[in-house]
């Protein structure tokens, strides 16, 4: 006897199949959790550092050895993790870690979420490499923390990061781009639709998604959205029409249709906006690339070692040499960071 409802056998019941299709979207998507058990911790000082005492009735006295075990639930497990949780301090209001209200302070473990409502803010230590301040209306998750690698997922809201670590150690993923700290201070905002805005105050941030990269220097910003990924970075002191037209260029990037936006940007870019033009070389349609190269060359001459043909075919070495001529910082150090020899 077949019973589709019980075991999926036989002819699908249309109502059951319809409910499977609808309700199946609610299925748990959380990855398999693993734990790190760390003998030696003895205090119960928050919900995630837990002591387990001897006396597991069916386990016998051997369990006494596990008298103190710090249990960390995470998306991944790394034996090298010095501490798979971070300190969190309340600035104002009552943020939540998981479903538990945070009073005064506590710790956030890998895999847990920190949520602030409209009346609360918090600050967390990023291991020992910096701090992140979380504004109102924010939800983020601690994805991973281990020696040399720390990752948050910002689902919505705003965070301000201040990191004093070598490039590449602190990463924040958002629904539409991933921000990799290159040693700096920056703010990152994510809207409810997954779009966002990165503002860099000090240093650099690499903003990436699906192979599209933006390298955002101090004093510059980059928008991002689910369709196009990281937008073309521009300095914050660019005038409003320039910024607006650049946004139009980014919005048309997927279809390579820019309208008058590209012409406006190329015509009105300042010398300082060479950084923006450099990013546009690889983003515009091939037919428009020459005009971008000309506009950039008019502001920052092409190095003598670089050929126009190499740039037009997006030769990485040629682009990097021209980037170095912009006077911002040499490309080699972040290339080295991305692809260590």
């Amino acid at each position: 006897m077949t019973d589709y409802l019980f075991d999926g056998s036989g002819t699908p019941d249309p109502d059951v199949a319809r409910l499977e299709q609808m309700l199946g979207r609610l299925r748990t998507t959380a990855p398999v959790q693993k734990v790190r058990l760390q003998p030696g911790a003895t205090e119960i000082h928050d919900a995630h550092t837990i002591s387990v005492y001897a006396g597991v009735r069916f386990l016998g006295p051997a369990m006494a050895a596990a008298a103190a075990i710090a249990l960390m639930v995470g998306l991944t497990w790394r034996t090298t993790t010095p501490a798979a949780s971070w300190d969190v301090a309340v600035i104002v209001g009552t943020p939540r870690i998981g479903s538990s209200p945070l009073i005064g302070g506590g710790r956030i473990a890998v895999g847990q979420t920190l949520t602030t409502d409209e009346g609360s803010r918090a600050r967390m230590d990023v291991s020992d490499i910096g701090q992140v301040t979380i504004d109102e209306g924010t939800r983020l998750r601690l994805v991973e923390t281990r020696e040399g690698h720390h990752r948050l997922a910002l689902e919505r809201g705003t965070l301000h990061a201040s990191i004093t670590a070598p490039p590449g150690q602190f990463v924040v993923s958002t629904p539409s781009a991933t921000a990799t700290d290159l040693g700096c201070i920056y703010s990152l905002h994510v809207n409810d639709d997954g779009s966002g805005l990165l503002n860099v105050e000090v240093g650099w941030v690499a903003f990436e998604e699906r192979g599209r990269e933006s390298f955002v220097p101090a004093g510059a910003s980059s928008r991002t959205d689910r369709v196009n990924g990281p937008g073309t970075p521009r300095f914050d002191d660019a005038d409003e029409p320039f910024r607006r037209e650049l946004e139009l260029v980014d919005e048309g990037a997927g279809m390579k249709v820019y309208g008058d936006g590209l012409r406006y940007v190329l015509a009105h870019a300042r010398t300082r906006d060479a950084m923006t033009l450099w990013h546009l070389i690889a983003r515009v349609a091939p037919a428009d690339r020459a005009s971008v190269v000309d506009a950039l060359a008019a502001r920052v001459p092409m190095p003598v070692t670089v050929t126009r043909e190499a740039v037009l075919r997006l030769d990485r070495a040629a682009l990097d040499q021209w980037w170095d001529a912009l006077g911002l910082d040499e490309a080699t150090w972040w290339r080295k960071w991305k692809r260590p020899v």
Binding site: V16, R25, I50
Partner: protein
């Protein structure tokens, strides 16, 4: 009022042959977890997370379900010494989940309750949440079993193994729950 089946223990003869092996394996896994074996914890999580997710989804706003699943496993870990019979792990952790949901709802009364469909994840149409709300009105045994089947994609046999119910009880809960759900949805299919 609908009759809700009690937990049954009558199993088909075929299943009886494999029960000792499965029980021994579960016992070994729980012992290993309690002794600090991370992989053992991960195995238990992988085996039982969908059941716990379904139980919580039937009771609390979706947005908090993943966090509460973690809470449940953390609680289970710290209270593992209370579990006298490892074979009863499924029913035991399910009870922890139901109690955790009750605690959550008690606390939530003091706060503004978040709707299920908050932005931030993949978009889900409103009709799905309407159906979920109706499932949540079903008697507990039907609700939990249906959500394990329809949301988590667990088979009846798997639900039985994880929850400690007999396959017969799961089958009856599924069909009675489905019948009741059809009535509430105004669907007129057969069962």
């Amino acid at each position: 009022m609908e009759h809700v089946l009690e937990i049954g223990r009558v199993l088909p003869a075929g299943d009886l042959l494999t029960i000792p092996a499965r029980t021994a394996e579960l016992t070994a896994t729980i012992r290993a977890m309690a002794a600090g074996d991370q992989d053992a914890f991960a195995r238990l999580y992988a085996d039982y997370a969908r059941m716990i997710h379904a139980i919580l989804l039937g009771r609390v706003p979706r947005r908090d379900v993943d966090d509460l699943v973690q809470d449940v496993f953390l609680t289970a870990y710290t209270r593992i010494r209370e579990l006298r019979d490892p074979a009863a792990f499924g029913g035991w952790i399910a009870t922890i989940a139901r109690n955790r949901a009750t605690d959550y709802l008690r606390q939530a009364r003091e706060h503004v309750e978040l709707p299920d469909d908050l932005p931030g994840g993949e978009p889900i149409d409103a009709g799905t949440f309407v159906v979920l709300d109706i499932v949540r009105t079903l008697p507990e045994a039907y609700r939990d079993t249906l959500l394990m089947r329809l949301v988590e994609g667990m088979s009846g046999a798997e639900i039985a193994e994880r929850s400690g119910l007999s396959p017969g009880s799961v089958r009856v809960n599924l069909h009675r729950g489905m019948k009741l759900l059809r009535e509430k949805l105004g669907w007129h299919g057969h069962d």
